[in-house]
Amino acid sequence: MNIIVLIKQVPNTSEVKLDPKTGNLIREGVETIINPDDLHALETAVTLKETHGATITVLSMGPLQAIDAVSEAMGMGADKAVFLSDRAFAGADTWATSYTLGKAIQHIGDFDLILAGRQAIDGDTAQVGPQVAAFLGLPQVTYVFDIEAVEADHVVVKRRLEDGYERIQCRLPALLTIIPGGNKPRYPLVSKLLLACREKAPIQVWNAADIRVTTAEIGLDGSLTQVMRTFAPKFERQGKFLEGSTVDMVQTLVAHLKENKLI
């Protein structure tokens, strides 16, 4: 079975802060990690490899330093990788990103299953997975937390709903987006990480020419949404700290709640 796993290197957004003067993101000193949902997708792939046998190709698009994410994925058990890196890919929205990834997948060749994380913690859109599936004309199932069965021409998966879940049979080849909850991503093995860092490691680096796209179709120019502006979310309230002993503070609070007809 040939599995392609889409991963993205992201800043650890729980540590990202905004510079209050410029309104820009402060990225220095912020750790970069493999997007958490993607770790679950990788774990799903590696588990399938262990139970059913599979070859896993990791695909990632990013600036040069994102090669670390690719190496880490190899450390977790991926067999080979394609790293898409080109200045012309920068500034892409999900439309342009899914186009770029889709063209790369067409160049990678045959596959049975594509796994992706549900969403990235920087963009938070959950759009790239489904848009890649649409570009490639594949059936998709999103919010997958368990793969029940794998056959030659279909899989059976569990898809999370707001109030329960569905068991879905999906024809292969297909694309699934994975959410946390089903598995615990393993730590990379040092031995595999070292192999991934060697010159002969099975990691290919491709640019725009390698996947036969034009600059008008990718990056900023190929995007169908434009960022008009970014700003810091406003917090208008100032916490009024209540004073006194616990009993006093609670009494004051109850008075406020009554005043505002909240109780």
Partner: protein, 399 residues
């Protein structure tokens, strides 16, 4: 768009072959030649001193979209019941349509759901496009995406809104690809730009650290998904509307997926977006017993219990009770956060609550920045005290 070498003007100086980042150029018979690795990036053009490299590329122009009219809303239903977010979006759609001088339409897909059309009209829809068939009974990506593709091709709406539910976030990107239009996810704000007349789509990014305003200048319809609980319902009880039935030919073959079973888990399910009062706990609550104290407070207040991602990961509350960037967005009248530090990802899910109370040992906890009233103290003392005082009050008031 093409880029080519005017061989008469080329003097074979090789500046272009050196400038090409893709090894796409070479010299043949003393003249520059562009091979099939060319990405039309234009580096060669910029390097050429003889103006021998030309392109027919035009700067990106904004097309004429005057023929695209209408603000559409996906009327999501499951099991014949309308998802509340659809009605919320109709409220917003009315406002947008009025600014644009367009009409509002709802797209209703399912099996035997025509009865819902009346409700949609009473909450703002001027038209309801109805696609009814047994094959649409339960949501499947390709089936619903096909309906949208057909309807959009026929009627050319200007704006299309969907709820950012599990269905909406599965369907919207698929429709976006099929019709070739830009999509913005999880919008918390929508308005019309007075200068450009286009949709301003505001949403959080980077886990809620940044707000971004996004636009879609070059494609239609302008598509956006919106979180449940963000927009307000606007009733239009006297509204009259038309129902237009749409026949889509869609076969099982095209579906690609089959639903084998739908399993409801009512015990873990709760709709926090409907709650008027919420009591939430975070890491500071420490354990399940601590959450027991919060549950007692919730009972005394008639409130729903909720928590942060940490509380879910520790198993103190089920995932459906998680408030935050990857959880639910809530706007209750009162939100009481106990032992919650107030990380940005959690704040993103509750900062529009009418009144916020925070209880935390740490006076510098970020939660106090969004609280109306803050109590710096041990929640294991404060919460039982509050529960006690509320119960006493109730006894007095209820007698």
């Amino acid at each position: 768009m093409a880029i080519w070498v005017e061989t008469d003007l080329c003097d074979g100086c090789r500046r272009c072959t050196r400038a090409c980042p893709y090894d796409a150029m070479e010299i043949r018979d003393g003249k520059a030649y562009i091979g099939d690795r060319c990405t039309s990036c234009g580096a060669c053009m910029n390097a050429c001193r003889s103006k021998a490299i030309l392109t027919d590329a035009q700067p990106r122009a904004i097309p004429d979209f005057s023929g695209h009219k209408g603000v559409w809303v996906f009327a999501e239903q499951r099991g014949g019941e309308l998802n509340r977010v659809s009605v919320e979006l109709l409220g917003k759609a009315q406002e947008l349509a009025e600014e644009l001088n367009h009409k509002v339409a709802a797209v209703l897909i399912g099996d035997q759901v025509s009865g819902l059309a009346g409700t949609l009209i009473q909450f703002g829809a001027d038209t309801v496009y109805l696609a009814e068939d047994a094959i649409f009974k339960d949501y499947r990506t390709e089936a619903y995406a096909q309906v949208f593709q057909d309807l959009i091709a026929s009627h050319k709406p200007n704006i299309l809104l969907m709820g950012a539910t599990h269905i909406g976030r599965d369907l919207a990107p698929r429709v976006s690809r099929r019709v070739g239009s830009g999509l913005t996810a999880d919008c918390t704000g929508l308005s019309i730009d007075p200068d450009e007349g286009i949709l301003l789509q505001t949403r959080p990014a980077f886990g809620g650290n940044v707000m971004a305003t996004i636009v879609n200048r070059y494609s239609r319809p302008q598509m956006a998904t919106v979180r449940p609980g963000v927009m307000e319902v606007v009733a239009t009880p006297d509204n009259e509307g038309t129902v237009i039935t749409h026949a889509t030919r869609f076969t099982e073959d095209q579906a690609g997926t089959r639903i084998l079973e739908i399993v409801k888990e009512p015990k873990t399910h709760v709709d926090l977006t409907e709650a008027k009062v919420i009591v939430a706990g975070g890491r500071g609550v420490n354990d399940a017993a601590g959450f027991g104290l919060l549950a007692e407070l919730a009972t005394a207040l008639g409130a729903e219990l909720a928590g942060t991602r940490v509380a879910v990961e520790e198993g103190w509350i089920p995932a459906s009770r998680q408030v935050g960037q990857t959880g639910v967005t809530v706007r209750p009248d009162l939100y009481i956060a106990c032992g919650v530090s107030g990380a940005i990802q959690h704040r993103a899910g509750m900062m529009d609550s009418k009144f916020i109370v925070a209880v935390n040992k740490d006076p510098y906890a970020p939660i106090f920045k969004v609280a109306d009233w803050g109590i710096v103290g041990d929640l294991f003392e404060v919460v039982p005290e509050l529960t006690g005082q509320l119960k006493a009050l109730c006894q007095v008031m209820c007698d």
